[in-house]
């Protein structure tokens, strides 16, 4: 190291711990969640028993997985309105094929994951090669995926391999397995992705697609991979739902709820809706915040059906905050494009 870079390194140590914007977002989400959960636990009549934690973790993990799925397209500057539908599709498919002996169960699980991945890949392909806007494409494809889910489960029903379901949803030494599942997804999918060229490319695209193009970033492959992994994670969520409910149900309200709440979770977790900044880890905590709000509403005797109001306000506030830069514009012409 030359003398110059040595000074630089010393200077940096003086900066102390430096947090990226994404890390700051995660910290905030963790903080909010911590406070809320503490209040929730305090208000519980039975206290924070392992059972209570397990239930909370399972419910939260469902949304967390869909929220992680939503994070990737948002990082590229898009939005995926079909995550809820892929979630439901995976749920229904799992209730049909994740059954029987260990071998067929395993194949069933693999099948569900592949279907989720392919749904995402299809989204990505249409967006990239059709050169269409992600919002409308995923809105329309969501309908298609939901239709397929309906075809599989016209009526709620089906079943699932009991051992697997039980394993996925119970706790060991008070640690919920669903939480471990989340950790695994982070370690096996998110972190390697974030450190990969295509993963970083996704952030680059969201930050400035023009500059990314000029810098030779592989835009097409990065986008398709982002949407594919999104579908994969949504299908993991669907699998977990099947494990929890022992059945599959194709309800439009479920799909829409999860899609909307996932967007809220992504925002609370510190990911910018404009793309380029954020992390799936933050979305996990954002999801838990969203879930805890619902529970807190019950605990404080407020009608929990007001959850959508909360999500809506969160979205509006988040979007408006992002638009505050508008106030700093000094040339009105810059407001337009």
């Amino acid at each position: 190291m030359s003398a110059e870079t040595q000074t630089a390194a010393t200077e940096r140590r003086r900066f102390g711990i430096r947090l990226s914007a994404a890390q700051r977002g995660i910290l905030l989400a963790v903080l909010i969640f911590g406070v809320m959960f503490a209040v929730y636990g305090w208000k519980q009549t039975v206290g924070l028993t392992p059972n209570v934690i397990n239930t909370a973790a399972n419910k939260g993990a469902l949304l967390a997985l869909v929220a992680m799925a939503q994070t990737l397209p948002v990082l590229t500057g898009g939005l995926d309105l079909s995550v809820g539908a892929i979630f439901v599709l995976a749920n229904c498919l799992a209730s049909a094929i994740v059954v029987g002996d260990p071998i067929s169960t395993t194949f069933g699980v693999i099948g569900v994951l592949i279907v989720g991945f392919m749904c995402g890949a299809l989204n990505g392909a249409i967006i990239v090669y059709g050169r269409l806007q992600p919002l409308i494409v995923t809105l329309a494809m969501g309908a298609v995926y939901f239709g397929v889910a309906l075809a599989i489960r016209p009526q709620p029903g089906g079943s699932v391999n009991f051992e697997l379901a039980d394993f996925m949803t119970r706790s060991t030494f008070a640690i919920p397995h669903s939480a471990i599942l989340l950790l695994l997804v982070v370690l096996v999918i998110w972190l390697p992705y974030r450190r990969s060229v295509l993963g970083r490319s996704a952030l680059a695209i969201g930050s400035s697609e023009q500059a990314a193009y000029m810098s030779g970033v592989p835009i097409e492959r990065a986008k398709i991979l982002a949407y594919s992994l999104s579908g994969l994670m949504a299908s993991i969520g669907g699998l977990l739902l099947t494990a929890l409910t022992y059945s599959g149900a194709a309800k439009m309200s479920i799909a829409n709820d999860y899609t909307l709440n996932a967007i809220g979770a992504v925002v609370i977790g510190g990911t910018s809706l404009f793309g380029g900044v954020g992390s799936a880890v933050g979305s996990i905590f954002g999801a838990f915040v969203m879930r805890t709000v619902g529970d807190l509403l019950i605990v404080f005797d407020i009608n929990p059906v007001l959850q959508p109001l909360f999500v809506g306000i969160v979205l509006l506030v988040a979007v408006s905050l992002g638009s505050l830069r508008v106030l700093r514009i000094k040339n009105k012409l810059d407001l337009y494009r």
Partner: protein
């Protein structure tokens, strides 16, 4: 300097590039040697930017060859040029605002470990690149968004250096740098030259070129004028080389400006951010006042400010003696103020391309042919016919999309749109850029006609012929202020160019001729 016995690292010959009818480069040759800094000089549109674009793979030449170290090469895109060791730093940055400096520097070919990005190695590379550039106090882990513009330019330069180029091109790359950072970059360039890199440098700042360059080449009108050793020609001689174009445009006679009438537009001490500094301006009815100077000295901002799009501008503006506050284009367009702006980018700012010529023409003045919000189609038709005839817009395309028209006709539509509002003050932002000669003539005649009818015109142009041929007075801007006002006999190319470069005033033709004679003796 250049090693004897070793050929040039880069050799371009016979390069021609035409855009439609416009000759950007005509049979141009260029050589860059190892261990030398070569400066390119010339006015806007002289061809230097196009040459750089060809060299960096952004555009492909129509004819000609490029040789690197004696071997012929071809670039299909910027990546190809990069791979062959040519790095270009443009003025528009290619940085990703939300990513770290290290990420940005390593964005294209990051170091990898087990298939994933090796962030430690990337950071080390970034540190080294930054140190090379003189930016060691830039934290590689900081987000580009947080950095000042000057810092960002340093990162952009570091990014180019990290690819270990053999040829480095800087196209006005120092325009955003603070003085201190400029010094650091220069130190780096001197070091690189010693290490044998070939550097090509474009700048309008004469003192920079004097400090850096070994060789200089002046371009004019797509041709190479001369290549010479730096320091062997005076500033004025260089200016002479940059101008000296054939006068191929004939301009209509200027109308008598009414000197004794009060100005219709009076601007005092107009300032905005750091881009406009205390501008004073008067325009009388019937006058065509020009704005000159290099690109980006505030001319566009001045026009936009007068038209009401700038927030936070200070100073006073009076129209017909009344102080006014122009808060929006709508206000500027109003009957009370009567202003019109022909914007710089006709495709993005002047026209709605997919809509018909008819719809575009009547757009700004639509209220004049409507009652209570409902359009009187008959009145609209009459008004359109009038304008079409006046401007001689090709009539058979009127109901087709304006996108189908030629550049010249499109510009006529933009002008026609505004003429329908019967403006008294007309602002024009480089209206004849990229337009054929015939239409240019028509526009010049139109301007004189409008002036004769009493309009007050502010005409920004990057074409010196136009400024001289059309304007009664020209205000030359540099760095947001008016550095010189030229009129009458003083209004000539030499003065325009030297004022634009902010050279000291007082050099006239006789001085230049004397200096030129001295230099050749």
């Amino acid at each position: 300097m250049a090693e004897s016995g070793v050929g040039p690292l880069l050799s371009m010959s016979g390069i021609t590039k035409r855009y439609g009818g416009v000759r950007a480069l005509e049979d141009v040759s260029f050589e860059a040697h190892r261990g030398s800094i070569h400066a390119l000089l010339g006015e806007n549109g002289a061809g230097k930017s196009t040459l750089i674009k060809v060299l960096s793979g952004v555009v492909q030449p129509d004819t000609g060859t490029i040789e690197l170290d004696g071997e012929q090469v071809q670039f299909a895109n910027p990546q190809d040029a990069n791979d062959l060791g040519i790095s270009c730093i443009f003025q528009e940055l290619s940085l990703l605002p939300d990513l770290t400096v290290a990420d940005n520097i390593g964005i294209t070919r990051p170091p990898r470990r087990f298939g994933m990005i090796d962030f430690k190695a990337q950071r080390r590379i970034a540190e080294e690149a930054l140190a090379l550039v003189g930016g060691e106090n830039i934290d590689p882990m900081s987000t580009v968004k947080e950095l000042s513009l000057s810092r960002r330019q340093m990162v952009e330069i570091a990014k180019a250096m990290a690819r270990n180029p053999k040829i480095l091109i800087l196209d006005e790359a120092t325009s955003a740098l603070t003085a201190a950072d400029v010094e650091k970059v220069f130190a780096m360039l001197h070091r690189l030259r010693k290490d044998g890199m070939a550097i090509i440098y474009i700048s309008h700042r004469m003192h920079e070129i004097a400090e850096l360059a070994d060789m200089c080449t002046v371009y004019r009108n797509g041709h190479k004028v001369e290549t010479f050793k730096a320091g062997t020609k005076s500033d004025n001689a260089i200016v002479e080389m940059m101008i000296g174009r054939e006068y191929d445009s004939v301009f209509p006679p200027k109308s008598d400006s009414k000197q004794d009438v009060d100005p219709v537009l009076k601007v005092r001490d107009f300032s905005w951010q750091d881009q406009l500094n205390g501008i004073n301006l008067d325009i009388r009815p019937g006058e065509i006042v020009g704005l000159g100077g290099l690109d980006g000295q505030g001319q566009k901002q001045l026009q936009l400010g007068l038209f009401g799009t700038l927030i936070g501008a200070t100073g006073t503006v009076e129209i017909n003696g009344q102080p006014v506050s122009i808060t929006s284009p709508k206000r500027a367009k109003s009957d009370e103020l009567g202003m019109a702006l022909i914007p710089e980018d006709r495709k993005g700012e002047g026209l709605m391309l997919p809509m018909t010529v008819r719809e575009n023409l009547s757009f700004a003045a639509i209220e004049k042919v409507s009652r209570a919000g409902i359009v009187d189609v008959g009145a609209e038709e009459d008004a359109i016919s009038e304008i079409v005839e006046l401007l001689k817009i090709k009539a058979d395309g009127i109901d087709g999309p304006v996108a189908a028209l030629s550049g010249g006709n499109q510009q006529k539509v933009v002008i026609g749109k505004w003429l329908m509002t019967k403006p008294r003050i007309i602002l024009l932002n480089d209206p004849t850029r990229g337009i054929d000669v015939g239409t240019k003539q028509e526009i010049y005649q139109l301007l004189q006609k409008l002036a004769a009818e009493g309009a007050a015109i502010l005409f920004y142009s990057t074409d010196y012929d136009e400024l001289i041929g059309c304007c009664d007075r020209v205000l030359v801007m540099y760095d947001g202020t008016v550095v010189r006002t030229l009129s009458g006999d003083e209004l000539n190319e030499t003065n325009l160019v030297s004022a634009a470069l902010n050279l000291p005033a007082g050099t006239d033709e006789a001085d230049l001729a004397a200096q030129a004679r001295e230099a050749t003796q």
